[in-house]
């Protein structure tokens, strides 16, 4: 297997002139992922199973057409549609089962399929252009610590048999052996913090719901994932939905809830379809319903589709929306754990928080807590997006640096130009310059740097970015998506757009200094006076842009 394995699509590899990619993160010459002697020669074995992603990102660049073409050309092979391994720059990727493991090819364009088959792709031939070697041994994959995403890209997402064969349902079986309070304590002990953004300890939240007296309790999964640059919730649901179902069932058992809802955004139709099918199959298996796994414990689950409002990712706004109202933020207290959906005690957790629970119960809280750093324990699913050469998802322990993610895993920019800024944690997160690439991914370290980890999304920008335009967009976004309940956010965001416009059009520069002071005042007011983090955090991207990229604010 030679390194003609380099992806053929120019848009998917760093263009000439980019800094050389870190050899440890890409199959570079000399670090070939698989020993040629260990992979079979072409034509030695009849074709068996072939895996092609049905993840919506992979489909957006032709995975369906690739799968159809393979089916048309080689009726004898079984094509399994999986989620994506997360190497999105290599999608559509084709994996072929061999005795040594799965050999990958990518990116494969539909029109490449015939030639690749003729060259021996379906036997796992290593000697053809686009062959990546054994996927599990690719340095990019081997360096990760996949817990939450262990099965994503590997299994058929809606196969209950695959799920069980790959360790599914062990967590729920283990939980049902314990009294609910002990399940809660295991989650506390794991150190798991909410992956939706705020990082509140999941076990502590569950303890509150368990302790609340009520006729009915709910578990709500927040799958609104509105942040730009985040797609891990979507990939998990499209790639391994039973993990989420199992996690929600464990949560329900732990706190005594009878009903669950997944609030899933309408922008993710494939995820809605996959999860709906998975719920039906789980019910048929007795994994949901009145008597789960014969334990006598009953719980059932529904998908609810959002309607295009970013603010419905905020938990109280999500609850209002589930109740059939406008998604207006509620003031807290009361907290949802005590008075949530329809006034009942409610667990509200992000997809990744809930999907991590089965592994914690199956393998032990201590094992999970051993990953990570400081008070940021466990693994996190980071998402590399924007102008990045190797975009996709990377699951590692907390503590990895921003630079390792962007440069080593991400390979720098897709355009081949220097990286200038990255936005971490979605539209309300800070813009950071390359000088901050030593920052470890750690909730406290980020907070100390005036930034946030949020849902783990990292968006890369090259040196052509206009940071004043990005700061303006932060206000524009807030103005468009504000729920409108409080004045600092509703009016402040509009004033913010106007103020940046004044700064940008002030060619004489006569009022620039005064307008920058006004901008800072406005940011302070929004930070201090907003009811929720929509208005309260919009100043974060704006202020970080002014602080680190001040030169862009001079017309």
């Amino acid at each position: 297997m030679t390194h003609d394995a380099e992806p053929a699509d120019p848009s998917s590899t760093p263009a000439p002139g980019t800094r050389p990619a870190d050899p440890s993160s890409t199959p570079a010459p000399g670090t070939r992922p698989a020993d040629p002697s260990s992979t079979p020669a072409p034509g030695t074995r009849p074709a068996g199973r072939v895996f092609v992603s049905c993840d919506s990102a992979a489909r957006s660049v032709g995975a369906d057409e690739v799968a159809e073409r393979i089916a048309a050309q080689a009726a004898e092979v079984e094509i399994v549609r999986t989620g994506s391994r997360g190497m999105l720059w290599l999608e559509p990727m084709v994996e072929v089962e061999t005795p040594e493991g799965r050999v990958g090819y990518g990116p494969v364009a539909p029109e490449d399929v015939d030639g690749l088959i003729a060259a021996g792709m379906l036997t796992g031939s290593p000697s053809i252009a686009g062959c990546l070697g054994l996927v599990d041994e690719l340095p990019w994959m081997a360096k990760q610590q996949r817990v939450t995403f262990a099965r994503v890209g590997v299994v058929d997402p809606i196969s209950t048999t695959d799920y069980v064969a790959h360790g599914g349902m062990k967590g729920l079986r283990a939980a049902l052996e314990l009294p609910p309070a002990e399940v809660v304590e295991a989650v506390v002990e794991s150190g798991l913090r909410g992956r939706g953004g705020a990082g509140f300890p999941t076990g502590i939240k569950w303890r509150t719901v368990l302790g609340a007296e009520a006729d009915l309790k709910f578990v709500c999964c927040n799958a609104d994932e509105g942040d730009s640059g985040t797609f891990a919730d979507r990939m998990l649901i499209e790639g391994d939905p039973f993990t989420l179902i199992e996690g929600m069932t464990i949560a329900a058992y732990a706190v005594g809830a009878a009903e669950g809802y997944v609030y899933l955004r309408s922008e993710y139709p494939d995820a809605v379809a996959t999860l709906t099918t998975a719920i039906e199959r789980a019910r048929a298996e007795g994994w949901l319903g009145p008597d789960i796994l014969g334990s006598g414990f009953g719980f059932d689950l529904q998908v609810r589709v959002g309607a295009g409002a970013y603010i419905c990712g905020e938990e109280t706004s999500m609850l209002e929306s589930l109740e059939g109202k406008r998604g207006m933020v509620r003031s807290k207290p009361p907290i949802p754990a005590l008075q949530g959906l329809f006034g009942r005690p409610t667990v509200v957790n992000n997809v990744l928080s809930l999907a991590t629970i089965p592994a914690i119960l199956a393998d032990g809280a201590v094992k999970y807590a051993a990953y990570g750093t400081g008070r940021s324990l466990g693994t996190s699913v980071f998402q590399l997006g924007g102008n990045v050469a190797r975009g996709g998802i990377v699951e590692t322990a907390f503590g990895i640096t921003l630079g390792e993610l962007v440069n080593d895993f991400g390979g720098g920019t897709a355009s081949g130009r220097p990286v200038r800024a990255v936005q971490v944690g979605g539209p309300l997160g800070a813009y950071l310059p390359v000088e901050q690439f030593g920052l470890p991914m750690d909730y406290e370290a980020f907070a100390a740097a005036g930034a946030m980890v949020g849902h783990g999304g990292i968006v890369v920008f090259d040196d052509t970015v206009d940071m004043a335009a990005m700061a303006r967009f932060a206000f524009e976004f807030c103005a468009a998506e504000s729920c409108g309940k409080c004045t600092p956010c509703r009016v402040g965001a509009v004033r913010g757009v106007e103020t940046i416009d004044r700064i940008m059009t002030d060619t004489a520069g006569s009022d620039r200094a005064r307008n920058l002071v006004l901008l800072d005042d406005l940011c302070e007011l929004m930070t201090d006076g907003s009811l929720c983090a929509m208005g309260g955090l919009t100043p974060m991207p704006v202020r970080s842009a002014v602080r680190h990229f001040g030169e862009d604010f001079h017309a």
Binding site: S60, A414, F477
Partner: protein, 164 residues
């Protein structure tokens, strides 16, 4: 955000009201049924007409103002029919970093539509969104029900040409 809508030949109003009522009655026992009902109405009838609001308020025993407030809060719910195909361009940060703003300008120049508008021949409606979760393969554009990644202006022209 249904794209292939049947609105070219609107259902006669009495028939429409009847159908809206059926869609609502079939879901009224859900907890918090209004949003699933609105999705169902829009999916089948293409948009949520002002006249539908009164029907829904009646079935759910809500005030017309309450239902109106919900319909207008959420961007997904259209109050008028869309064109035959809806083209939605992501305008959020990750797509911006790879040229989504220029792509949108190109689409607007080609179609003669701003965001939220429909071509005069009713063929296309142009919309923007903030994020399809395809942020590693941007710019992302949805044409009808199909999501496309890494869309260049040339590629967009081809997609718009295909949309009939």
């Amino acid at each position: 955000m249904t794209s292939e809508v049947v609105a070219a030949a609107p259902v006669p109003v009495p028939g429409r009201a009847q159908r809206v009522r059926e869609l609502a009655l079939a879901r009224q026992d859900l907890r918090g049924p209004l949003i699933p009902i609105l999705h169902a109405v829009q999916e089948e009838l293409g948009y949520v007409a002002p006249a539908d609001v009164a029907v829904l308020a009646d079935v759910l025993n809500l005030s017309v103002a309450e239902v109106h407030g919900v319909v207008t809060f959420y961007k997904d719910f259209r109050r008028t029919p869309a064109g035959r195909t809806t083209v939605t361009i992501c305008q959020a940060e990750a797509c911006r970093s790879v040229g989504a703003v220029a792509l949108a300008a190109h689409a607007q120049a080609t179609t003669g539509c701003g965001f939220g508008e429909t071509t005069a021949d009713n063929r296309l409606t142009l919309e923007q969104t903030y994020c399809f979760g395809n942020c590693a393969l941007g710019p992302a554009v949805q044409v009808g029900d199909k999501l496309h990644g890494r869309v260049t202006p040339t590629r967009l022209d081809a997609l718009l040409g295909d949309a009939r």
